[in-house]
Symmetry: C2
Subunit: 250 residues, 2 copies
């Protein structure tokens, strides 16, 4: 029997981390405050014990935010994969709708991940440094859409210097490596798309807009629809809008 590389203690520790996250999310889903003490109590141990796992409160928050983001991303991926592999546009739509619905349904989790003063610096917590994985799931679909539709994108030398740098050498290593250097303008299009998606959803979640518009989802639909042409999806708009509305209703 092949003994696990990891020691028994290490596995136990990992399990405890999982339980911390589970307890935290339970609090977030309910109406309880997400506090160190509450998490500890829910796990049946005292507050100081948690300091064996997280350095301080902010560290707990960062941990939970990271894991929540990872889990949410997985549901976005699942939503996308209801569409055939050769329909990246449909997949993007489904992932986007899933993102919105998740955000509106779990505003506190959304706020934790996407409206925190960014999990700064020392967030080399667990696994690799893949912060905001969801923000980068979408990159893939945009790339796939490009290989299928070949929408136009700026060349490197028509990009502003600061932008050129950041698309050539992205800080957060998404799956950008497979994009040829001369096509890195695609990353700029991706950033534009992310801005659009994040913008509407944040606006809706924080409620800075007529509730009736939020509830109807029309601003969301409108935003996606307006962005579609930049991905060469003009001809697909009717189909995609129908898909989007179906997904919003379901």
């Amino acid at each position: 029997m092949v003994q696990d590389q990891t020691t028994r203690r290490a596995r136990q520790r990992e399990a405890t981390y999982d339980e911390i996250v589970r307890a935290s999310r339970q609090l977030l889903a309910g109406d309880g405050e997400l506090s160190l003490r509450a998490v500890a109590a829910l796990m049946g141990l005292t507050a100081p014990a948690l300091y064996r796992y997280v350095a301080n409160y902010q560290d707990l928050i960062d941990l939970v935010a990271f894991e929540v983001d990872k889990a949410a991303t997985e549901t976005f991926r699942l939503a996308a994969e209801t569409q055939p592999e050769d329909d990246p546009a449909g997949r993007l739509i489904c992932a986007s709708v899933a993102f919105r619905q998740w955000a509106l349904g779990n505003p506190r989790e959304f706020g934790l991940v996407f409206a925190n003063p960014i999990a700064d610096a020392g967030c080399i917590r667990r696994e690799t440094i893949t912060l905001s994985s969801s923000g980068h799931l979408f990159t893939d679909y945009l790339y796939d859409i490009w290989t299928k539709y070949h929408y136009p994108h700026p060349s490197l030398d028509e990009l502003p210097a600061a932008v050129r740098e950041s698309v050539q050498d992205p800080l957060i290593p998404a799956k950008v490596e497979r994009i040829a250097p001369e096509d890195r303008g695609l990353v700029w299009v991706y950033m534009q798309g992310w801005t659009q998606l994040y913008g509407v959803v944040a606006l809706e979640v924080f409620g800075h807009m007529d509730p009736r518009v939020i509830e109807s989802g029309e601003m969301f639909v409108d935003t996606i629809r307006n962005f579609a042409p930049r991905l060469g999806l003009d001809a697909e708009i009717p189909r995609l809008e129908a898909l989007m509305r179906a997904r919003l209703a379901g």
Copy 2:
């Protein structure tokens, strides 16, 4: 000598409210936590005394958020009025840049006003119910731009039902009354614009984007530039972009 309508006590009370807000903003600007006790201490009184002015902590937050928004809006208006009255597009640009610079320079104030689960319900605090006044300063400029450039806007019957309702009978009474019923589609364009502006700025403030792009302001410029055509400003883009960049640098 004409005696003030308001009684002496009422004036004193008003002054105390002002001091509460002033103390709170002082804490927000520094690195101190915005707590009831800290505010009280800064004013030289005990914490329970504050309960004569605000019902609870959240109420204090709402009060401060409201006043911060009002004050910020005034600076946006000032920035706009550096441009001649017959150049509403220039004014909108300046107000928008001022909004972004304020948000990036005062992230905690921005968070308070624009990333709170909305000052809900009982926020009929002081003055009229003009919540998020800044969100509606921009309405005016969009209207002025329309009277000058006559950009196209959707008619009422091509709007989705939910949207039509909300543009006909807006929840937050902006200066919408002067817009003729058949031109209420303008309000939809306004909402779209607000979504764009809020979107980039929130994204930048919360840092969910490459820092180099944020620092350069290119995504902000890009977003505004992309939206300009919808306001019939195609021909003005070079001029407006120059103005925008000058304001961003200043």
